[in-house]
């Protein structure tokens, strides 16, 4: 009964979405005030309906209603309660419902927090979001209905994919989707501005906080996914250039370019066409990511059940959304003024260079991700592009980005002279080169480490110095001032983490029996015993490893090899001891003989690995700090051009 109500609510939501997508848009172009004012209530009603549907599915999971096919396939009675909430998005159908729900959350937020904007703009933005929602609701209802019943009703469900039974992964999809879907708001703003023919400063100012929040969520989501892969997959790696990881990285790179480009458009009135293109691209790449994951055209650890009709549906949707918006862009952007002439030595030129570099990096990732597909489509064979390609292409592109980051912070808007720009940077440059060299010499020389460290120190010093300078000056400093500094420092911290952990990680893959000891660096790992343990829905072999350093006990680690009862799927639970300076990582492999006296085990010593996650958190925090800026909440007249530049 409740399940049917959920289904009906979803169908009603589709109808409301159609109204929301069409009427306010027509109202905005015909200046019909009544139709325009339908936008906000429609957004709220749609949010209520989608939430009802979402709640109904959650209820079905909590009640173990295995007459619902989706519940039977993704849950069972032994599944812990927390994972029964998470199981709602554990499969294809539910994760799409989550997507629609999050879109509704974003839309209703726009409806509520848009008091300072003219009604026509709000109507257009909410309409565009309504059209996107229409597409996704149609997709859910036509091809992936989570409320489908199952007869005969099974007594017991299967189980949530054991890979997903991890606290980190419980919140990874919602965070990632908050980011992905959040870019739909930036997209809707861009389309609304193109439709209105008003690509002005106000447009950039309105869309920037939304984009920042979406970016912060996406950053957090990607970070969580990466952390999960590190702790759960047992391979000791944290980024695998898997197609689905790439699908989340591409919108992030473009989104990063977008938040900077929006700032230039807001402050200087330039780069308008470029900013709009970035906004369209960021959301298009999110959609492309959905297509890649949901259609199964690429083989990936994330690929859910594949179904060609779903693929065709998303492809058509992708073609419509991106095709229409790029056509609109080609039609309207040509008449947008290029704004003021750009001077080579200025903050905007540096920001433009960096956003171009980020877009090139995105293109490189896109190429590597789709290359197997293209080669297959041309009948030239099957292949896969591995990490070597991505590392060789991606890393060199990030070097100038990091270098320019500091120059961008230092340069003034409009025009700087070479003298005042570069003079104070000489000391920082020398200090970072020296610092990089010293660190690399101290830990064991390598050019890669020296370069990575020099860049990290360069960004840290180059970011801190202007912040300290500002702190010395009198006057109250708004918190948002530190947003950029915090995020930039986060990048530097992450670069240092990546450099040192990659440069000095030690790894041993051994055959080991109880009582044996393995030595990595200063640490000795002793396998004490392997025992059998039983969890709520799994049985596991658990190894007890005693870690000592110079004779003192450092940690007791308990890596497990789990076997989930209902799916018989083996899972590795790595054991990690973390501190600021190093991670000790142990994962238990297979028994090597019978009776099991020897085991294959992997031991890693990864210096500074925590810094990667710290960096991610700092970026997220920085992004959120920047949103607190008061100017985003002030009512803005759309003609009030902040920099005095005619639109």
């Amino acid at each position: 009964m409740i399940v049917e109500l959920g289904h009906y609510a979803l169908i009603l939501a589709l109808m409301v979405a159609v109204l929301q997508g069409v009427l306010p848009l027509i109202g905005a172009s015909t200046r019909n005030w009544h139709w325009q004012s339908l936008a906000r209530p429609a957004a709220i009603i749609q949010f209520v309906l989608v939430s009802l549907a979402y709640a109904a599915l959650t209820y079905a999971f909590q009640e173990n209603d295995f007459s619902v096919r989706y519940v039977a396939e993704n849950s069972n009675t032994r599944l812990p309660t927390m994972y029964r909430f998470a199981a709602v998005w554990g499969g294809h159908e539910g994760s799409l419902l989550l997507w629609v729900e999050i879109l509704a959350v974003w839309t209703v937020s726009v409806a509520i927090f848009s008091r300072q904007m003219p009604l026509a703009m709000v109507a257009r933005v909410i309409s565009v979001l309504g059209l996107i929602s229409t597409g996704f609701l149609l997709f859910v209802l036509a091809t992936s209905n989570p409320f489908e019943r199952l007869f005969p009703v099974p007594l017991e469900g299967k189980d949530l994919n054991p890979l997903l039974q991890d606290p980190g992964l419980v919140i990874h999809p919602p965070m990632l989707y908050m980011g992905y879907v959040g870019f739909s708001v930036a997209f809707a703003f861009a389309i609304a501005a193109l439709l209105a023919g008003r690509l002005d400063v106000a447009w950039a100012r309105w869309s920037r906080p939304w984009t920042l929040v979406a970016w912060a969520f996406l950053t957090f989501g990607i970070g969580l996914g990466s952390w999960w892969a590190y702790t759960e997959l047992g391979w000791g790696g944290w980024w695998f250039w898997d197609p689905v990881e790439n699908a989340s990285l591409m919108p992030w790179l473009v989104g990063t370019a977008l938040i900077h480009s929006l700032m230039v458009t807001e402050k200087r009135g330039s780069f308008k066409a470029w900013t709009v293109l970035l906004a369209i691209s960021a959301f298009s790449l999110s959609l492309l990511g959905t297509f890649l994951v949901r259609s199964g055209v690429l083989n990936s650890v994330h690929a859910f059940a594949t179904d060609p009709t779903r693929g065709v549906f998303i492809l058509i949707f992708l073609a419509l959304v991106v095709g229409c918006s790029l056509t609109l862009f080609a039609w309207r952007a040509g008449s947008v003024s290029l704004g003021t002439k750009m001077i080579w030595i200025s903050r905007e030129s540096v920001l433009l260079s960096n956003s171009v570099l980020l877009v090139v990096a995105t293109a490189a990732v896109l190429l590597g991700t789709l290359y197997p597909l293209v080669i297959d489509a041309l009948n030239m064979g099957k292949l896969s592009v591995g990490p070597p390609y991505f590392n060789t292409v991606f890393v060199p592109l990030m070097v100038p980005v990091l270098f320019l980051m500091v120059l961008g912070v230092r340069a003034r808007w409009r025009e700087s002279t070479l003298q005042e720009w570069l003079h104070p940077l000489r000391r920082i440059g020398v200090a970072s080169l020296l610092g990089g060299g010293v660190v690399a010499l101290y830990f064991g020389w390598s050019w890669g480490v020296a370069a990575g460290m020099a860049l990290g120190i360069w960004v840290i010093l180059g970011t801190l110095e202007p912040a300290v300078e500002r702190l010395r000056k009198p006057g109250k400093i708004p918190l948002s001032f530190f947003g950029m500094h915090c995020a930039h420092l986060g990048i530097a911290v992450m670069v240092i983490g990546v450099t040192l952990s990659k440069g000095y990680e030690v790894e041993k893959d051994v055959r080991i029996a109880a009582g044996d000891t393995v030595t990595l660096g200063d640490y000795s790992f002793e396998l004490q015993r392997v025992t059998e343990v039983t969890g709520p829905n799994y049985v596991a072999k658990r190894a007890e490893v005693l870690v000592k350093r110079n004779g003192d006990t450092v940690a007791n680690l308990f890596p497990e090899k789990r076997r989930y009862v209902s799916t018989a799927m083996p899972m590795t639970e790595a054991a990690i001891d973390t501190n600021l300076w190093r991670d000790l990582y142990v994962s238990l492999g297979e028994p090597l003989n019978n009776p099991a006296q020897e085991w294959s085990m992997r031991f890693y010593l990864k210096p500074f690995l925590l810094w990667i996650w710290l960096g991610v958190l700092m970026m997220v925090f920085g992004g959120l700090l920047a949103v607190t800026d008061k100017r985003y909440r002030r009512a803005v007249e759309s003609r009030l051009a902040g920099a005095g530049v005619p639109a």
Partner: protein, 207 residues
């Protein structure tokens, strides 16, 4: 020093069409890609002689089975196990196909007894393992129907390694000269049987 640039030139118009053009190209590739299956992996074993082995069979007292004994016949080898979910799905298809008696279908029972089946800390000796595997497989086949002319027991999975088994189930078509002519990773579906396997077998039988 502010110079306003307002060039609505033809070049600008062309430049802004580039994203649309690129997207159309991308779309074409995605559409073609949809029709392909990334899991269809060409096996290096196709058109190579089937690796030799000699294994105990499911029925005790039948002696050992080795692929050599199938020389002169077109036959199929199906890798399966009772613990494999996809095998259950595939099974009725195989039963119906075997009823036609077109070619002999040999089963390869792959790692039937898993480490987790063994009582904790007490590994089983190979004889017990074989007995357990036989008993489980026989019950399974009695309930679901038996499509196999015989089943070879690959308890430790060594033969599976020789055949490059990715996962269970897998199916091979082997010709009269003992050469692998086709390899299917994953469950055999009725469509696959009609479109690929049956025509291939008919062709091989004629030659």
């Amino acid at each position: 020093m502010r110079v306003r640039v307002c060039r609505h030139s033809a070049t600008m118009r062309k430049i802004i069409l580039i994203p649309l053009g690129l997207f159309v190209v991308l779309l074409v590739f995605l559409a073609i890609g949809l029709k392909r299956d990334p899991r269809e992996i060409p096996s290096p074993l196709v058109n190579r002689p089937a690796p030799a082995f000699s294994l105990q069979t499911l029925q005790s007292g039948q002696g050992l089975f080795s692929p050599d004994s199938m020389r002169g016949k077109v036959w199929m080898l199906n890798v399966w196990a009772t613990w494999c979910a996809a095998c259950q799905q595939e099974h009725p298809v195989l039963v119906a196909f075997a009823r036609e008696g077109l070619v002999p279908l040999v089963g390869l029972s792959y790692k039937e007894v898993q480490a987790s089946d063994e009582p904790a800390g007490k590994p089983m000796n190979p004889e017990d393992k074989l007995a357990m595997a036989r008993q489980r497989s026989l019950t399974w086949l009695r309930v679901k129907g038996d499509p196999y002319s015989l089943v070879a027991m690959d308890l430790d999975g060594r033969v599976g390694i020789d055949y490059g088994v990715y996962g269970v189930p897998e199916t091979y078509v082997i010709d009269k000269n003992g050469v692998i002519r086709y390899k299917q990773i994953g469950a055999v579906t009725p469509a696959l049987l009609e479109e690929k396997i049956r025509p291939l077998i008919q062709e091989l039988n004629r030659s």
